[in-house]
C-alpha cells in the first residue's frame, strides 16, 4: 500500500497549473460567458500541445499513454481554473472510446459527449465530434449529423446543448467505463473548484477589515472555513482512489467512483456556501470572481450523477432498502 503520486505525476500537474495560471485567469472564464464560442481560446491549444488532451491515448496513436491516475491531478487543475472547455468529455471520457483517433489525441478535433444521462453535451456547437449513448455502446457523430438545441446552464461559461441525432447510420463503439470516467473527471474538477473558492476566501478575509481587525480573525468566520477545509480533506483521497481503481480494473471501481463523486459534490457545495457567506455582499456581486467558480461547482455537482444519486447506487450494492416503500 502506497498512496501517493510520483514526482513525474506531480510535475505534470504543476506544468498544467502554470499554464492555466497564465492562459485561464478569471478574465478568460468571464469572457467565455459572452464570447461566440464559450471557450478559452488559447488555453485549449496549449493543453493540446502539452499532450493533455490525448494523455490517455496510447503512444502509437499519438497520445502520452498515461492513465487516469496521471490525469486526475490535471483535471483537478482545470477545475481550479474553471477552464471553460469540454476537457472531461474529451480527455477522460471519449479519447479512450476513440482509441485509434490520432486527431482526437492530438486535439486537432474537439470531442464532447452527452453520456451523463441528461442528454446534454457541453460546448457541442464548436466540437467536431459528439458522442451519444448508442444501442450497445457509444455512437460517434459529426456535428453536421446532429441538431443542437441550446440550453441555459446556471454557469454561463458552460455552453450546453440538447443533442438530437439526424437519421443515418451511426458508428457504435464500446463505451465501457465511460460514465465512470466522466463522473470521476467531474469529481476531480470539483476538488479544484473547492480549493479555488477556499483560496479566494482565505485571501479575502485576511484583507477585509471590520471593527478594526481582519474579518478572518473572527471565530465564526474561521469555523466556516475550517469546515470547508475539512470537506476537501476527506473528499480528495476518495477521488484519487477511484482514479486508481478505474485504471487497474478494480471490480468495485464503480462504487469507488460513486463515493468520490458524492463526496466531492457535497464538499464543493459546502465550500461554496461558506465562501459566499464569508465574503459578504461583494461575493454576491456579478463583478467579483467568486460566482464564476461557485456556479461551475453547482453545475458539476448536479451532473454525472449528483450526490444522492451516487449514494443510492452505493446503497444498492450494500443491500440497503431502496426506500421506495
Amino acid at each position: 500500500m502506497r498512496f501517493a503520486f510520483t514526482d513525474d505525476q506531480l510535475a505534470f500537474r504543476d506544468a498544467v497549473r502554470d499554464l492555466l495560471d497564465r492562459e485561464c485567469p478569471p478574465a478568460v472564464v468571464r469572457d467565455a460567458w459572452t464570447n461566440d464560442t464559450g471557450r478559452s481560446g488559447a488555453a485549449w491549444a496549449h493543453l493540446a500541445d502539452m499532450g493533455v488532451l490525448g494523455a490517455l491515448a496510447s503512444e502509437a496513436h499519438g497520445g502520452l499513454g498515461l492513465t487516469l491516475v496521471d490525469l486526475v491531478l490535471v483535471l483537478e487543475e482545470t477545475g481550479y481554473a474553471a477552464l471553460p472547455e469540454p476537457i472531461v468529455e474529451h480527455a477522460a471520457v471519449t479519447v479512450p472510446i476513440l482509441e485509434d483517433s490520432t486527431a482526437a489525441a492530438a486535439g486537432r478535433v474537439t470531442v464532447t459527449a452527452a453520456l451523463d444521462g441528461s442528454g446534454l453535451a457541453p460546448w457541442a456547437d464548436t466540437a467536431e465530434l459528439i458522442v451519444l449513448p448508442g444501442e450497445t455502446g457509444a455512437a460517434v457523430l459529426a456535428r453536421a449529423d446532429v441538431a443542437l438545441d441550446r440550453r441555459e446552464s446556471v454557469d454561463g461559461a458552460r455552453r450546453l446543448f440538447a443533442v438530437h441525432p439526424r437519421a443515418g447510420p451511426q458508428a457504435v463503439r464500446p463505451a465501457l467505463g465511460a460514465f465512470e470516467r466522466g463522473a470521476l473527471g467531474a469529481a476531480a474538477q470539483l476538488l479544484g473548484l473547492n480549493e479555488r473558492m477556499l483560496d479566494l476566501t482565505v485571501a479575502y478575509v485576511a484583507e477585509r477589515r471590520q471593527f478594526g481587525v481582519p474579518v478572518g480573525s473572527f471565530q465564526a468566520v474561521k469555523h466556516h472555513l475550517a469546515d470547508a477545509r475539512l470537506g476537501l480533506e476527506f473528499a480528495r483521497p476518495l477521488v484519487y482512489r477511484a482514479a486508481w481503481s478505474l485504471t487497474h480494473g478494480d471490480p468495485d471501481a464503480a462504487v469507488h467512483v460513486s463515493m468520490a463523486k458524492a463526496q466531492a459534490s457535497d464538499a464543493a457545495r459546502l465550500t461554496g456556501r461558506q465562501a459566499l457567506q464569508c465574503h459578504g455582499a461583494i461575493g454576491y456581486s456579478f463583478e467579483y470572481d467568486l460566482h464564476l467558480y461557485l456556479k461551475r461547482a453547482w453545475a458539476l455537482a448536479a451532473t454525472w450523477g449528483d450526490a444522492r444519486w451516487h449514494r443510492a447506487q452505493i446503497g444498492q450494492t450494500l443491500g440497503l432498502p431502496s426506500g421506495s416503500a
Binding site: M1, R2, F3, A4, F5, T6, V69, L198, V202, V205, A206, V213, P214, G216, S217, Q219, V221, K222, H223, L225, A226, D227, R229, L230, E233, F234, A235, R236, P237, L238, Y240, R241, W244, S245, H248, M259, A262, Q263, D266, R308, R311, A312, I314, G315, L318, G319, L320, P321, S322, G323, S324, A325
Partner: protein, 382 residues
C-alpha cells in the same frame, strides 16, 4: 501509487484476523467500571501474550517492529473482530510515543515493557479544575527538593480517565512560576501509590466511574521521573496531544466497524427505514471509507518522512463528528426502541453517550477548528 496490499501486509492481516476472530471477547462489561476494568486487563494481557498488544513497537519491548501501515491493518482487524476499545490506550497510544521521542534509554527500558504487558497502567493528567481548553493555565506545582534529588508535587488534576483503576499518571506541573505560562512547565511520570496521592473516582454521563480526580499533597518524585527537560514540559506534552488528535488514539478501523454495524442495522430495518435515513447511512459509510483512505495517504507521507503537525486537528474533528453521526443514525433507525439498552445486540445508546464525548476530549472541536483556521489555512490570530 499502489493501492494493493503487499504479500507481507496480506500475510500479516491474515495472521491478525485468524487470531483475533478466535480470541476477541464480545461480551466484556464496560472497562470504565472496576470489575469491567479487571476483565479488560485479562484480555489485554492475552493480547500481549500473543504479541498483538503493541505491534509497531520494537521486539525488545514486546512488539513486532511492524510498519505504520501494518499497525493500521492490525487496528482494522481488531475492531472488525468486535474486540473492545483498549483500556491501556492512554499509555500505549499517548504516553509511549512521547517516551520513544523524549525518554532516556533507561526510561524506555523501564516504562515500555511494563506498559505493553498491562502491568503498569497509565492515566493522563493534563486537565485541572481551572485549566481545560486553556491548558497552559495549570496551577499544580512542583517544587525543587535538592537534598532528595527530585521534586515535590502539589495540586489537583481532574477528568482523569480511568484514574481510579490505573497505577501511574503522566502530567504537567509548574516548576517555574515566574516564567511565561508556557515555559516553566515540566512533564512528570508519577506512581499513584506514592505517599500524598489521593485518587477519587466519579461517574461520567453514562454512570460509569470513568472519571477521577487526583490530589497531590507534597508528593515526592525522583529526578528520573521527569520526561524531557525540566521547564520544557509544554513542548513534550504537545507531542502527546498530537498523537491523541491524530492517528493513534482513534484509527479508522474503529469507525469502519461501526459503519458496518450501522449498514447491517439499516438492512435489517428494511423498508421501515425512511429514504433520507438510508441516504444518511450511506453518507456515513462513505465518510468512514474517506477516513480510511485519508489515513493511508497520511501514513504514506509519514513513511516518506513528512511531519503532519496541525493537520492532525482535521482528523480529530472528522472522526469525532463521524462517530456522533453514526450513532445518531443508528438511534433513528431504532425509532422508539432507541432508549432501550437491548434494542439491538449492539448497545447504540451507550455508544452514543461515549461518542458525544469525542468532540470534547483530546482538545474540543472548537479549539481544533481554531487550529485548522489559523495553522492550516493561515487565518489571522486575534
Amino acid at each position: 501509487m499502489d493501492l494493493t496490499f503487499s504479500p507481507a501486509e496480506k500475510a500479516f492481516r491474515a495472521e491478525c484476523r485468524s487470531w483475533l476472530t478466535a480470541h476477541a471477547p464480545h461480551d466484556l462489561p464496560s472497562g470504565d467500571t472496576r470489575e469491567g476494568f479487571a476483565a479488560h486487563l485479562a484480555w489485554e494481557r492475552k493480547l500481549f501474550g500473543a504479541r498483538f498488544a503493541v505491534v509497531s513497537w520494537p521486539e525488545a519491548y514486546g512488539g513486532r517492529g511492524a510498519s505504520a501501515m501494518e499497525w493500521l491493518i492490525f487496528e482494522e482487524e481488531y475492531y472488525r473482530a468486535g474486540a473492545p476499545q483498549r483500556v491501556t490506550q492512554n499509555g500505549i497510544f499517548l504516553l509511549a510515543p512521547t517516551v520513544f521521542d523524549f525518554g532516556t534509554r533507561a526510561q524506555q527500558d523501564q516504562i515500555l515493557p511494563r506498559m505493553a504487558a498491562a502491568q503498569d497502567l497509565w492515566c493522563q493528567g493534563w486537565s485541572e479544575p481551572n485549566a481545560g481548553s486553556d491548558l497552559a493555565a495549570i496551577e499544580s506545582r512542583a517544587e525543587r527538593d535538592e537534598p532528595g534529588g527530585g521534586w515535590r508535587l502539589s495540586g489537583q488534576k481532574t477528568w482523569t480517565t480511568r484514574g481510579a483503576f490505573c497505577t501511574h499518571l503522566f502530567g504537567l506541573f509548574r516548576t517555574d512560576p515566574s516564567a511565561e505560562r508556557h515555559r516553566g512547565l515540566t512533564y512528570f511520570l508519577v506512581p499513584l501509590e506514592a505517599p500524598g496521592v489521593t485518587v477519587r473516582g466519579f461517574g461520567r454521563l453514562d454512570g460509569d466511574e470513568g472519571f477521577a480526580e487526583v490530589f497531590f499533597d507534597d508528593v515526592f518524585v525522583h529526578d528520573d521521573e521527569v520526561l524531557g527537560e525540566v521547564h520544557q514540559g509544554w513542548g513534550v506534552a504537545m507531542a502527546t496531544t498530537g498523537s491523541e488528535r491524530g492517528l493513534t488514539l482513534r484509527s479508522p478501523g474503529r469507525f469502519l466497524a461501526t459503519a458496518a454495524r450501522l449498514v447491517d442495522l439499516a438492512r435489517r430495518s428494511g423498508d421501515a427505514a425512511a429514504p433520507t435515513l438510508v441516504d444518511s447511512v450511506v453518507a456515513d459509510w462513505i465518510d468512514a471509507e474517506a477516513y480510511r483512505w485519508q489515513t493511508f495517504s497520511t501514513v504514506t507521507r509519514m513513511t516518506d518522512g513528512e511531519n503532519l503537525g496541525a493537520e492532525s486537528s482535521l482528523t480529530k474533528v472528522f472522526w469525532s463528528e463521524l462517530d456522533v453521526r453514526l450513532h445518531e443514525h443508528a438511534l433513528a433507525l431504532l425509532g422508539a426502541a432507541a432508549e432501550l439498552a437491548d434494542a439491538d445486540p449492539h448497545d447504540w445508546m451507550k455508544g452514543y453517550q461515549f461518542a458525544l464525548s469525542g468532540p470534547i476530549y483530546a482538545g474540543t472541536n472548537e479549539i481544533q477548528r481554531n487550529v485548522i483556521a489559523e495553522r492550516v489555512l493561515g487565518l489571522p490570530r486575534r
